[in-house]
């Protein structure tokens, strides 16, 4: 029996002071909730919630070959990025399996950054170093960087007291900027994982507590934990690496083909994906809404006319819809929107249907262009 020492982010004292329920997530001691998952979920859908996601990894890539390096490691087209833009992308292995889903930020032509999932951070950085090239310096800034995500229709207002030199409200969706936040240089991106408007603030760890306190105080943002983060991203139809996809999953099976650009030069996994693009995947990720009352969960069978056709990978009761929702893989052609399916819950077959994602779409607020793309864990 081993005693595992859990890592703590710079914001750990804030969570303890707020009485958060803490949990081991990917080796980090993180807040699962403060006042309650549903209350925090609603706060994000109606106002602004603030999440500590400092367990995620922030890696900078600098130099004349920075963009070329990112291009060869990711599936999306770095060539579409201009200064101050970010894009969702995937890191694949040689077989085209998804090692991680990431967001790549282009701050300047010679300065990009990649944000990786906590669970894959060590492996991801090692993999980047394995593929290192001249002219692209890999600066692993995980330990020095805290990440605070502020999400919800009131997110821009919540950031106002931070006195950003470049105001948050002016950032376009998926825009990013390096600017002073409470006087300290930070990277702010208009990205998120909740299906709402929102911002992710990459701030030096030494200043994280100050920023958090202002967001919660003057900013009136509600502290929200990983529990609400999961219910929110599920309603937004967003995948979680390690649960909805892993290194054995191809982007086409995960329905992430939109983020794979096969005509922009070589990248790791390209050959395998070109082959799969010809035939298409055998099974595909879909969203399912239950018509019968009940809660679908990871591992529950998906059936059609009494025959098993797939399995749930993520599921739960949608707080906003009041119905069970799920992500899962089904055999094609049962992945067509509108297909009637059943999910087996404790021996009973509950009726549902394949739907288009997201399950919930936030009403357009008119501030910043509405963009929907796979977000960020």
């Amino acid at each position: 029996m081993t005693d595992q020492i859990l890592k703590r982010t710079a914001l750990y004292p804030c969570h303890r002071a707020a009485g958060a329920r803490m949990v081991d997530f990917a080796g980090w001691e993180m807040p699962i909730s403060y006042r309650g998952i549903l209350e925090e979920h609603r706060a994000v859908r109606t106002g602004a919630g603030t999440f500590d996601v400092s367990h995620m990894g922030f890696v900078e890539i600098r130099g004349p070959q920075a963009a070329a390096f990112c291009q060869k490691l990711t599936t999306n087209d770095i060539g579409r990025l201009r200064d101050g833009r970010a894009q969702y992308s995937l890191l694949c292995n040689e077989k085209g399996g998804i090692l991680d889903d990431v967001v790549v930020y282009r701050l300047e032509q010679r300065r990009l950054a990649v944000c990786v999932n906590a669970a894959n951070a060590e492996a991801g950085v090692a993999w980047m170093r394995e593929h290192a090239t001249d002219g692209a310096e890999i600066d692993d800034r995980r330990r020095q960087t805290a990440l605070i995500a502020v999400q919800g229709p009131r997110a821009a207002a919540a950031l106002e007291p931070l006195g950003m030199e470049s105001p948050a409200g002016r950032l376009a969706r998926f825009g990013c900027v390096e600017t002073r936040v409470l006087g300290v240089l930070a990277v702010v991106a208009r990205t998120g994982y909740t299906g709402e408007d929102g911002f992710e603030i990459f701030v030096p760890a030494d200043h994280a507590v100050r920023v958090w306190d202002v967001l919660v105080g003057e900013g009136a943002a509600t502290p929200a934990g990983l529990g609400a983060r999961d219910t929110l991203r599920l309603e937004a139809g967003l995948l979680l690496h390690g649960t909805d996809m892993d290194a054995t999953t191809s982007p086409f099976a995960a329905d992430l083909g939109a983020f794979v650009k096969l005509d922009c030069g070589p990248f790791v996994g390209r050959e395998a994906l070109v082959a799969e693009a010809q035939t298409g995947p055998v099974r595909r990720l879909v969203g399912i809404v239950l018509r019968d009352p009940g809660v679908p969960r990871h591992g529950y069978p998906i059936e059609r006319e009494g025959r098993r056709i797939g399995v749930v990978t993520s599921g739960g009761m949608s707080p906003t819809l009041g119905r069970g929702i799920a992500l899962g893989y089904v055999e094609r052609p049962h992945d067509a929107v509108g297909t009637a399916v059943e999910i087996e819950v404790r021996g009973r077959r509950l009726e549902g249907e394949v739907v288009r994602r997201p399950f919930y779409r936030a009403p357009a607020t008119g501030s910043g262009p509405a963009g929907h793309a796979q977000g960020r864990p």
Binding site: R21, S33, G36, I37, L38, E39, G227, T231, P293, G294, V295, R297, G316, M317, P319, R346
Partner: protein
């Protein structure tokens, strides 16, 4: 954690209120706090016969599925319809509006091994 004096408690964190031959059953404040936000409750139909210790329903939170066990044997005479529509009642009023079922108790002798409020409080303290 609240544990009303007049109730009896099980090791699985159910409570029962005895009024004549009718027992009202729910889960305790300790249990709802452990579970977190309740999102779904599955209960048997009226008329169902239960034996003591039998798993008769399920309380589901965001993350967990928790079986509920009959503190005493009997026949279900009433099921709380409100918790179907408002599962959060189990969190907000575990001893009041969040009650789950009412049973006609078959054998009052089966109540003998249930804990009183003091013993249950001690039991939950040990669990922390």
């Amino acid at each position: 954690m609240e544990c009303p004096q007049e109730l009896r408690y099980t090791k699985e964190h159910e409570w029962v209120r005895i009024e004549g031959e009718i027992g009202t059953v729910g889960i305790t404040d300790f249990a709802q706090h452990e579970l977190g936000d309740v999102v779904f409750v599955e209960l048997p139909a009226s008329g169902t016969s239960l034996t003591k210790g039998q798993a008769f329903g399920v309380v589901e939170s965001v993350k967990a599925v928790s079986d509920i066990y009959a503190p005493v044997g009997g026949v279900v005479v009433e099921v709380n319809a409100d918790v179907g529509r408002q599962p959060e009642l189990v969190n907000q009023e575990p001893y009041g509006g969040g009650w789950l079922v009412r049973l006609r108790i078959a054998d009052a002798g089966e109540l003998g091994d249930l804990m009183d409020a003091g013993a249950y409080r001690e039991y939950t303290r040990e669990k922390d």
